[in-house]
């Protein structure tokens, strides 16, 4: 029953988020303009322009194959690992185009952390897992930093007495939190999460969800999820991608889920397709 406005993109020039975090205008930390991404000849993303605000949780939802993970992986240039992937258009981290020739992807990934769908801790001790990022980046490794990271991932209480044990001995939910600790230990600015809870049971999922809300105080969180209720629960802003890789709507979560601007978005979130 939503009224169908034009199919143009909804972005506000100075976006502000009406959540409990106050109604101040948001600083943009990641922005894209007319981003096109191809895998070979298949177009995965079409003309995506978005401004992701700082210190908020931004959720990206959409049906399978709509390009959400592709977009996420462009932000930290993990798509470089796929030879067939080509990127057109602009994607800025603060004011730097991340696809500029001069930008070193390794340096970029030191500011932007990532958590994957299936927990992937290294076959090392818990301590070494958390310290890994610090070590490869040449930063100092101290027990305090490791503890802080584990606390930040709500894992400290469960593993403080077994830091020398292998990370692979933990349960799935704990492994994922270990991966989060590993991602936040080197103190990045942005944390990208690609369906972090989809491989976990409901209890582990809700622990991760609680965690995400706290993470946004320190970092900017961008989370891809296929679970709409999860996006509704935890995010401040929601971006809806639809089949074909187009960003159809981007607004405060509450608006998207109570009164979306586009009929296609309404149809998607009420489950009429996708």
């Amino acid at each position: 029953m939503a009224t169908d406005t034009s199919d143009s993109l909804i972005t506000t020039d100075v976006s502000s988020t009406e959540t409990g975090r106050g109604k101040v205008p948001d600083e943009t930390v990641v922005a894209s303009s007319n981003l096109d991404v191809y895998y070979g000849t298949d177009q995965a993303l079409e003309d995506v322009s978005i401004e992701i605000p700082e210190h908020k949780v931004t959720a990206i939802i959409g049906p399978s194959g709509c390009g959400k993970s592709t977009f996420l992986r462009c932000i930290n240039r993990m798509n470089d690992q796929i030879p067939a992937c080509t990127v057109d258009g602009e994607l800025r981290f603060h004011s730097t185009d991340v696809y500029d020739e001069a930008v070193d992807p390794v340096a970029l990934r030191r500011k932007i952390g990532m958590v994957f769908q299936k927990p992937n801790p290294f076959p090392k001790s818990i301590y070494d897992n958390v310290a890994y990022g610090l070590r490869v980046q040449g930063k100092a490794v101290t027990d305090e930093i490791v503890e802080e990271a584990l606390r930040g991932a709500a894992l400290w209480d469960e593993v403080s007495d077994q830091l020398e044990e292998s990370g692979l001995e933990l349960s799935g939910g704990q492994q994922q939190r270990l991966c989060i600790a590993r991602a936040i230990a080197p103190d990045p600015e942005v944390i990208l999460m690609d369906e972090p809870a989809s491989a976990l049971d409901p209890v582990a999922t809700s622990k991760i969800e609680d965690l995400i809300a706290d993470l946004a105080d320190e970092y900017t969180v961008v989370i891809v999820t296929h679970n709409m209720q999860q996006a509704a629960r935890i995010s401040d802003k929601t971006a809806v991608f639809l089949t074909g890789g187009r960003l159809v709507e981007f607004d405060d979560t509450q608006k998207v889920f109570e009164n979306p601007q586009h009929q296609r978005v309404e149809d998607y979130i009420t489950g009429k397709f996708g």
Partner: protein, 226 residues
């Protein structure tokens, strides 16, 4: 289309709400007729029928709650459920008001009060309810606004009728200053009349409420809500 079962449940909800509304309207019209003609038996039917309406109300309330808990409706669908929730409350209140009317009729042999043209006044309110339900069924937002406009007229008419009742009462009291011919029946009739008019006005207000919820449901607008 996905979520067939869920879509069917939503449709079933709106049908049931409409069915309850028709039942309530029916009772209301019966009450009006009974008031006009002083038909005690008709009044009795209305009073007895209130139970059935209350049961329907509870059942529909449960239906709404179940939908929310089990299907997590969002956006437009959510507005349908929350609007229906409120609308059935208004319908149940209308039924109660109809019962009030019937009560008065049962108590008095005669009609309500000569100054109160029950069918006309009550009929206007009844039409408003009918139109509101039609708007719900067809998602007609124009009709919603029209109903809100008519409420002003209804309120004015009610006020005039009230004045009329009080003038009549004052006139009667003035005419019968001696105690023996003052049997207090004029007082009772007047108070009943006033209450009836107020009830009819209330029915009109509920009709506006329903229209307001329908507007919210269709356009997410709280224009008529207050």
């Amino acid at each position: 289309m996905a979520r067939q079962h869920y879509q069917q449940q939503l449709e079933s909800l709106t049908h049931e709400v409409t069915a309850m509304a028709e039942l309530v309207l029916d009772r209301y019209k019966m009450a009006l007729e009974a008031a006009e003609t002083g038909d005690r038996r008709l009044a009795e039917t209305v009073i007895k029928g209130d139970n059935e309406i209350n049961e329907r109300y509870l059942a529909l309330e449960k239906q709404c709650t179940d939908l929310i808990a089990l299907q997590q409706p969002v956006a437009g669908d959510l507005r349908v459920v929350t609007a229906s929730f409120k609308i059935i409350t208004d319908l149940e209140r209308i039924a109660d008001l109809a019962t009030n009317l019937a009560d008065h009729t049962r108590a008095e042999q005669t009609g309500i009060h000569p100054a109160v043209d029950t069918q006309a006044l009550g009929g206007v309110a009844g039409e408003m309810v009918e139109d509101a339900i039609a708007a719900y069924e067809t998602a007609d937002t124009g009709m919603c606004r029209a109903i809100a406009d008519r409420d002003g007229t209804l309120d004015a008419d009610c006020e005039r009728t009230n004045e009329q009742i009080i003038r009549t009462l004052l006139a009667e009291t003035a005419a019968t200053t001696d105690a023996e011919s003052n049997d207090g029946s004029g007082l009772t009739a007047a108070s009943r009349g006033l209450l009836t008019v107020r009830d009819i006005e209330r029915v009109g207000d509920h009709a506006v409420n329903i229209a307001a919820r329908v507007l919210y449901m269709v356009e997410n607008s709280d224009e008529l809500l207050y």
